[in-house]
Assembly symmetry: C2
Homo-oligomer: 504 residues x 2
Amino acid sequence: MRDFDQQYEQLCQHVRQTQRLASAAEVLAWDEHTYMPPQAGPYRAEQLQLLAGLVHQRRTDPDWGARLEDLAAWAEEHRPDAPETVNLLRLRRDWRRQKRLPQSLVEELAHTTSRAQQVWAESRPKNDWNAFAPWLEKVLELKRQQAEALDYQQHIYDALLEDYEPGATTASVQAVLQPLGEALRKLVQRIQHAPLKTDPGLLRRHWPRSEQEKLGRWAAEQLGFSFRRGRLDVTAHPFCTRLGPHDVRITTRYDEQFFPSAFFSILHEAGHGLYEQGLPAEQYGLPLGDSVSLGVHESQSRLWENHVGRSLEFWQWCFPKAREHFPQALADVELEQFHRAVNHVEPSLIRVESDEVTYNLHILIRFELEQELLTGALSVADLPQAWNARYEHYLGVQVPDVAQGVMQDVHWSAGLVGYFPTYSLGNLYAAQLMQAAEQDIGPLGPQWSRGQFTPLLQWMREHVHQHGRRYDPAELIRRATGREPEAQPLLEYLTARFSAIYGL
Amino acid sequence: MRDFDQQYEQLCQHVRQTQRLASAAEVLAWDEHTYMPPQAGPYRAEQLQLLAGLVHQRRTDPDWGARLEDLAAWAEEHRPDAPETVNLLRLRRDWRRQKRLPQSLVEELAHTTSRAQQVWAESRPKNDWNAFAPWLEKVLELKRQQAEALDYQQHIYDALLEDYEPGATTASVQAVLQPLGEALRKLVQRIQHAPLKTDPGLLRRHWPRSEQEKLGRWAAEQLGFSFRRGRLDVTAHPFCTRLGPHDVRITTRYDEQFFPSAFFSILHEAGHGLYEQGLPAEQYGLPLGDSVSLGVHESQSRLWENHVGRSLEFWQWCFPKAREHFPQALADVELEQFHRAVNHVEPSLIRVESDEVTYNLHILIRFELEQELLTGALSVADLPQAWNARYEHYLGVQVPDVAQGVMQDVHWSAGLVGYFPTYSLGNLYAAQLMQAAEQDIGPLGPQWSRGQFTPLLQWMREHVHQHGRRYDPAELIRRATGREPEAQPLLEYLTARFSAIYGL
């Protein structure tokens, strides 16, 4: 094929143009969560519906698809190792998947999830389950239609999971999460009867918001997050989104009575942001410029939030700075005390504020429930009760209301069903990547205690970020760590860290 | 025509869909000015170029245009007085105009003006004319192409003016602005030799930004601006934009050393916002839901900023509140002193901070220069010198640098050539509308002194806002005031207000 380069460039131009529309929609969605006036919601949903429809139309354009099929087949045979071929094969996989979805369904999903998120944001503070439930019904019905259209081999949930974690299945995730859950419940019990205690009470003091913002921004910047190519704003539910090759936005929420809320969510979202900022900008919009999976994404956020951000060495470096910002709250607090407090383990209600040990139990609950919701084994009407029962069973806590229970997360309202288990996969990957990085570089703690985070970031840039979607998640982990993805590194890490803290 | 309603609805659906794209672009433009990270600019320009192209494509779609022509012709004959006919005739006028513009020109204008604004925003603080000049050249060249494509009878400038003030021509504007300028220069001279003086020095104290923001928001809300359907943010150059039927955003900039900057620009932009919030929401995207002209738009902003916001009665009500926010700066200041200070007249450098008497001289300078730039009589290279000479001639001031001179306004970088004279038309209309409103309602000052602004707002809603683009600007003013648009009310108003202040 003599004009391969030209044909490839034309195909890519179509993709880049589509990405300009998709990223325009991302700007609108970001604005919806950050700054949009309350009454502007319904119209925003109309705008997003239109853009989603246009994007889908372009992604499933039959002429373009036919040219893609031809070119991908040729490249696969004649240039199997070229980066262009990676892009073509990934684009072909996406195209074959996308074209199964009817235009009307894509538009309806965009519109309904935009409205459902608005209703969620309004009704959650009021504990108004009845206002939200009909919207959750609608979203679930559309997700069922989506899953059926996408098709699956074993479980309807597989169809949705594939969007977030290519190659993972309900069964494969179940096989990892169930035993992990059992091991973690045992670790929680050991901690609850441990000889040493931690006192999180000192975190419940007055932490002025503006100082939290300054410290959080500074810390994110020190880890390597660029504010020339990014922002930090406030939303009900923290997130990270990329609006262009040089535009990565993270958000947080501030609780003036509880230090960890904002600080660790900033580190978490900055971790996502570092991944996005580390993707090859010149490939933006193409598979090689895109993140590989939500699990790998989450490995980056959890890594900076927990492995780094809750380590003793990080606080050896950061604590003096924190004291400058919070002279009152930290006046009588010592470094070690503080470090133990931010590692306090206790079964609790809110996933995003839970400790590292119980976190995956929160995920397990959602993973089970959303499978049942999707198959219809569980009705939306029965969901709050099922949620509460599951929290009692796995975590031994009583859920007092829906705001602290079933309505705490934005995900389902946003149509993100099948998303939760990638959080646990991310925890697995993070621990495994950290082990590998330390094997390569040597112990990282001493660097962190001097505020040096570049070696770790460079390692991630090299082994994870730069590859975009070149490999599927499992292969990426295998190449980066030399081993299959597994739970052992996570259990070793958690056991080591919390044995030290609780004197197990 | 039996299926008129159905055909009309289909045409409108096309227009509404186009508007969803156009308003999505507005969201991106708003974000570009408010929150976008510095390095995200070039990609944002690509997104805006694409959206502008899609919008233009839809607005000039030949099938749609043919159906519009048919339906408008039928409606004009059979339902001349129906509101649907107003929409159709206005849409037809727009369509006939839009289709003269080549797609490529529209896209290039969107891209170039997005980049030119970014360059302007970066180079203005650095006084870097050389960085900006090539971009101004590019914009002007594209505006010339646009004007030629749109066609005109007498002056190339007419083609651009028509976009902002339908029905106005270079000659008609000249005929009003020249004598107005002469009269104002005389009034300025009388004020400079007046028996009484005003002291603006007291405005140059320390005004904490957060307090300015609170007072400004509160005042805008008291005038009637709804923050449930709007926002206030910070930009280099204040503006107002509407992103949806219930989403009107205004911006300001804060100067902690000078009170009027932010406060009066908030009142000004809130005036624009009140107009936008007063347009019929159900007609959003259609001519009946759109503002009629920039001149009429500016009449609303200048009315609330100046007629209301700089009146003694307004400050009788607002001054105690201002004192709560600025106890230090206003500790030794009396109401009358303060009111005289915010009405200080003095020829100066910056248009947006100039007083009501000299303001239109700033406009006259720009009106003259941009005509010459467009025809090529003046080159971009010679522009700074010409600017400075004109400021010397009309205002008797020396321009020290380009930031305070030719680079002070965003307009030209944004492609807004032909826009400036609408500011003076707005001042004319504002005075004329105020006279008519007071004839209808009675003296308004006493109401303002009690913080009652609803009667004036209601009058504007009834006589201006609710009509959308039903009438051309001149006819709207005629219907609202019973007279042709004229300069006399403005001169009467300025003479009365400043005679009182300066004891003329």
